[in-house]
Each structure stands twice: as C-alpha cells, then as structure tokens.
C-alpha cells in the first residue's frame, strides 16, 4: 500500500510538472491552431538557463534562497524571450501559409534549438544543483513523499491558480479567450491579435521554464535532448486532457485536478 501511495505521489509530482508544459501546448494550439513542436525545446532552454544561473551563483557563493529565486526568474525571462522570438521568426510570417508550413517550420525550430544548445554548451549530461533542500518537518513521511514533491506540487498549484486568474479575470486573458474562439472577429472588435499571440507564447514559455526548473532539480541532471521527449509526453498529455483551449484554461474549477489525473494515469 505504501508503495502504491509512493508511486501515486511521484506520479502526481511528475504529472503536475508535465501539466505545466502541456499548458503551453494547449494555449498555443487554442490560439493559432498549431502544434508548437519547439515548445519542448523552450522547456529545455528554461532548464539550461536555470542550470547555468544556479551554478554560477553557487560558485560565487550566494545563499540557496537567492539562487532559487534568481534562477527561476532568469529561466522564466529567457524562456519567454525565446518563445517570443520563435513565434516572431518561425510562425508569424506563416499565418496565412498552407497548413503544413508552420508545422514544418516548428519542427525545424525544434531541431535548430536543440542543436544550438548542443553546440553552445555540451552534449553531456550535466548535474543539476539541488535547489530544494530536505525539510526537517517532512522527516516522518519522507519515505512516502519527498520534500521536493511537496514543493513541486505547491508551486504548480500556485502557478496554475495564477494562470486561471489571469485567463479568467484580466484584460489580456479575455482577449486571449476571444482570439481563441474567433481570430477574425477578435481583430474586428479591436483586439491586437499579434500582441495576444505574443503574450500566449510568453506565458506558455514561462510556464515551461518553471516546469523545466522543477523537473531538472527533481531528476538531478539535464541534457540538450530532454526537451524532445518531455515535449512528446506533455503533448500526449495535452491531447488526453483535451487540447481544446477553453476546457483547460478557462478556469473551470475542476480542470486542474482532472488534467493532473490524466497525466498521472499516463505516466506511471
């Protein structure tokens, strides 16, 4: 029984991280109807950036809390920047191109980014610094659920709540929902669709970066190829959970747990 619970918890942990990545897929798919193959790479870049920043800071002797915060923020910033740039370069010029064009361009971007990181950094697996300490108060149940599991679950829950709030109550969220339903109509009522699409990529990428940071510190190592596999898994999860935008992001109270459950079922 303990074993089952342990499995359940670790499944839940991983599932919730993949949910963060999957959200990026769903958001982009909802808005422009494209499977963003490069999304897995954005996640990988997030993990790499946080790795680099965290290692540099730890070499220069910063305290752990500062490292965690700075690495997380840096990962989110740079991932978003990459997501934004990828959209501008590879997808925006192809909005009115034939159906296959943006998809192939996305695959190209994915290969490009992977090899860019490979060449700029290394092809080896790198040890990711342990950012989440073992909490003393977790001692009694440590054999069932680790500290990092708790932290991950808490973080993803908070992030998802924040996203739900954003989509449901803010101006940009409303604009996003409108664009997802009917882009032409959104354009006609004066929504800056380009900006909405950019925002979608930025938010999705930031989520992926947080996912990247969490997974990397959970597993303890990274490599330039992690994005591809994670991307496929997250995408499958997105499909299982229903890739339709409104279902996953419009903030029905039950969509979060439901989604996680799907992931868990799939990944255990």
């Amino acid at each position: 029984m303990d074993y089952f619970i342990e499995l359940f918890c670790s499944g839940l942990t991983r599932g919730s991280i993949y949910a963060l990545i999957a959200l990026g897929y769903t958001m982009v798919y909802g808005i422009i109807g494209l499977i963003n193959f490069a999304h897995g790479e954005i996640y990988m870049i997030g993990a790499f950036t946080s790795f680099i920043v965290a290692t540099v800071l730890s070499i220069y002797g910063f305290p752990l809390a500062a490292i965690v915060v700075v690495a997380g923020v840096a990962a989110a910033i740079w991932s978003s920047a990459y997501g934004y740039t990828v959209e501008k370069i590879a997808y925006k010029p192809l909005r009115h191109a034939p159906r296959l064009a943006p998809l192939i361009s996305a695959i190209g971007m994915s290969i490009l980014l992977q090899n860019y990181v490979l060449l700029a950094q290394t092809s080896d697996f790198l040890p990711f610094p342990e950012l989440i300490p073992e909490f003393a108060f977790m001692e009694p149940i440590a054999h069932i659920i680790g500290s990092s599991d708790i932290v991950i679950l808490l973080t993803t829950t908070v992030v998802m709540l924040a996203l739900t709030f954003l989509i449901k109550f803010t101006r940009i969220g409303k604009a996003m929902r409108a664009t997802a339903q009917d882009r032409t109509m959104a354009l006609l009522v004066g929504i800056n669709v380009d900006r909405v699409i950019s925002a979608t990529f930025i938010i999705g990428s930031a989520l992926a970066a947080i996912g990247g940071l969490l997974i990397a510190s959970h597993i303890g190592q990274i490599n330039f190829a992690i994005g591809f596999i994670a991307g496929i898994k997250a995408f499958t999860a997105a499909v299982l959970g229903g890739i339709v935008y409104s279902g996953s992001c419009s903030g029905e109270p039950d969509s979060g747990p439901d989604r996680k459950f799907c992931h868990r079922l799939y990944f255990q």
């Binding site: 290692t55 540099v56 296959l100 490009l112």
Partner: protein
C-alpha cells in the same frame, strides 16, 4: 536600397539576440570543477551574424514584394529557369541522356568511396520520392516515416538470420511488410486531422525504435544484427569494391523505376485525387472521392518504398541496429521533400543531393549539420514555402468531339 531605418531595425534585432543568447552562448560552467568561463567573443559573433542576417532577410522580403507587384501588373507567372529548360522537349532528352551517361560512368571516374557516398544519396532520393507521395502530394504529414524504413531493414536482417532468405527474395517482402504496417497504422490514424496525424506517426516511429531497442529476443536489442549478406549477382563472388559498385548500379536501377512509377502515379486519376485531398478534404468527399481509402493508398505506397530502401540499407551496411532509425532520420527525409519542393520529383532529387552530399563534402561543418537542417527548414518555409522547384501542373490535350468536327469541316 537599404535605408537608415532598416539598419537601425537590424541593430535592434542584433541587440535583442545578444540578450537572448547571452546565458547559453557566453557563459559556460563546469559543474564538476566549479569554474565559469565567459566567452565574450561569442557575443560579438552573434551580434554581427544576426545583424547581417536581419538585413539580408529584410532585403529579400522587399525584393519579393516588388516582384509580386510586378507580377500582378504583367499577369504572367514567372517560371523558374530550370523548369523552363525541363519543359522543352528539345532540351529535355539530351539533358537526360547526358545525366544518365554521367551517372553510369560515375563509379569508374571516381573512387569506390565516392560511389558509396553516391549510393547513400541515391537511397535518400528514393526515400524522399516515397515520402513525397505521402507528404508532398497527398499532404499527409508523416513524421514516423523512418519506422517503415526500419521495418524493411529488420525484415531482411531477421528473415535472413532465421530462414536464410536472400536479398532478392526479401526485397519485395520487405516492401510489402512495410506497406502492411502502413495500412495497419494508417487505418485508424488517417481519420485524424493533419497535426494529430503528425504526432501519432511521430509516436509510431518512436515505438518501433523502442521495440527494436528493448525486445532483445526478437531484434537483439541495441547491439543490432550483423553479418547481413550483400546482394548476390547470380552467385558471382565479388570483392568489396565490386560489391559497392554493384550496389550503386542497383540503386540507379531502383531510382529509375521509382521515378517512372512515381511520375505515372502523380499523373493519374489517383495522383489528382491525392492533390485534391491535400487542398480540401471536404470538397474532395463531395466530389465522390473516398477520403480514407485514397489516403491509405498514398500512405502505404510511401511505406512500401521505405521498406524497399530499408532492405537495401541492411544489405549495404551489412549491419542494422535501432540507432539508425531515430526521429532525426525522419526529419532529414522530410526536409529533403520540403527543401526540394513538395510534390516535385526533380525537386526531391535536388533536395536529397544537397542535404546528403553537402555535409559529406563539408566534413568540417558536419557538426553544424543538424543545426543547418533546422535552419534550412525554417528558412525554406519563411522565404520559399514552395521549395526549390515548385510543382507545375500538366496541360491536358482535348481530343474529343470538337477536334473531330473540326476535321470534318476541313474535309
């Protein structure tokens, strides 16, 4: 042509990229020795590189816009020069004869090593032509094409290992087995929308590879199967060099057959239906085309060719293991089709030659090969989505009643 405004814009772009690439290009940490190296020179390269690329891209778009404007004035579509040459029968046949001569003499003019590389290129051309039916003509994005290639290769390796079957027996069997896999996969999957099809085929490719990697009893796992015999020639003993050259001619033969068949298929009732399907599925169905069946035929035909080349691949390298059948392989074949121009046979040939031979001859750049692949795919889609050679439509001749009555009037 280049205004100050554009230079400013390019400067901004290059600044943005400097920021973007900063952590990955400039910082390099060694987590074991706990050292950091700051590679500031990379920053300069990025700045200059992106500045130049940005200017060039801008210039290209400006030119394209002007050309479009001119085209609308003159109302004449511009046909690329290669196509104009190919279209004229007066040029076409001497050109074909020359090419054939060059191709046949190739192994005798150059070393066996060169012939070997050429054989690889030829294999990719045929793979490209096969995938071209699926992606280029029928518009089905198949990202797991390599799976069928693997089926072909492993069917030769395994049938030979267990039953001692020879190359010529397995060649059609491998093709048919791959086609069968195509039907089995295609039947449930071809109902899906384009992008779902892409992801499912991608998954299928990975599954096949993982099966081959993990099912040791069946496929001998990651270590693969070696000592696969080369193709025989009426029981003749051949040296390694001779076998290579024989392989080369065999591929030439297969390529010619493939070109012939693909050409005829494209220019047929079926080929038209594929094209129509690529453009509008609903209209197609309303015109009485059985969507699933027509797609399935394209899908399994493509798989058939992949299977054939798989068998040849196993025979050529005399060794197969799962590492030869990764997603990257699918991506390369796909980029051949896309680079060449979807649906165009000449385009696919050009695309394959460029993508296979270029990295081969530019060894120094070989580590940038995949980077270039990605960049080319993106750049092609942005700058020239129709590929190097756009497909031109055939002009049909009317021979019905009108000409008959015209004749009668003449009499």
């Amino acid at each position: 042509m280049i205004t100050v405004k554009e230079v400013k814009r390019s400067l901004l772009v290059s600044l943005w990229f400097v920021f973007l690439t900063f952590p990955l290009m400039v910082i390099k940490v060694n987590p074991y020795e706990r050292t950091v190296s700051w590679r500031w020179s990379n920053m300069v390269y990025v700045a200059i590189g992106t500045f130049v690329i940005s200017l060039l891209a801008k210039a290209w778009f400006v030119r394209k816009e002007r050309r479009m404007a001119r085209q609308q004035d003159s109302c004449h579509a511009r046909i690329p020069i290669i196509q104009r040459i190919l279209q004229r029968p007066g040029y076409r046949y001497p050109l074909a004869a020359f090419l054939l001569g060059a191709v046949l003499a190739f192994p005798h003019l150059f070393s066996t090593y060169q012939a070997n590389i050429m054989t690889t290129a030829l294999m990719y051309i045929v793979l490209g032509l096969g995938l071209n039916i699926v992606v280029g003509v029928a518009g089905l994005l198949d990202l797991g094409y390599v799976a069928f290639y693997a089926v072909g290769a492993y069917s030769y390796a395994l049938l030979n290992l267990h039953f001692g079957l020879g190359f010529w027996t397995v060649l059609p069997v491998g093709g048919l087995l791959a086609a069968l896999f195509g039907v089995l996969l295609g039947f449930p999957v071809l109902r899906l929308r384009g992008d779902y099809l892409a992801i499912v085929t991608l998954g299928f490719g990975e599954i096949i590879r993982l099966i081959l990697e993990n099912w040791n009893a069946f496929s001998k796992g990651p270590s693969g199967i070696s000592n696969i015999p080369r193709p025989g020639f009426f029981g003749l003993e051949m040296s390694l060099d001779q076998a290579m050259i024989y392989m080369y001619y065999l591929m030439i033969g297969l390529l010619l057959v493939t070109i012939f068949v693909v050409n005829r298929l494209q220019d047929s009732r079926l080929g038209r239906a594929w094209l129509a399907l690529r453009e509008d599925e609903i209209a197609c169905q309303a015109m009485g085309i059985d969507k699933t069946r027509t797609k399935l035929i394209a899908f399994s035909l493509g798989a058939f060719w992949a299977g054939l080349i798989g068998v040849i691949f196993a025979a050529k390298t005399t060794f197969v293991n799962p590492a030869s059948f990764t997603f990257m392989e699918s991506a390369i074949i796909l980029s051949i089709v896309v680079l060449g121009g979807m649906g165009s046979i000449v385009g696919v040939i050009l695309g394959a030659l460029i993508l296979v031979l270029l990295p081969e001859y530019l060894r120094a750049l070989s580590e940038y090969r995949m980077l270039a692949f990605g960049a080319i795919l993106v750049a092609m889609m942005i700058f020239k989505p129709e590929g190097l050679i756009a497909n031109v439509r055939r002009i049909y001749c009317y021979q019905g009643r009108k000409s008959n009555t015209a004749l009668k009037n003449d009499e």
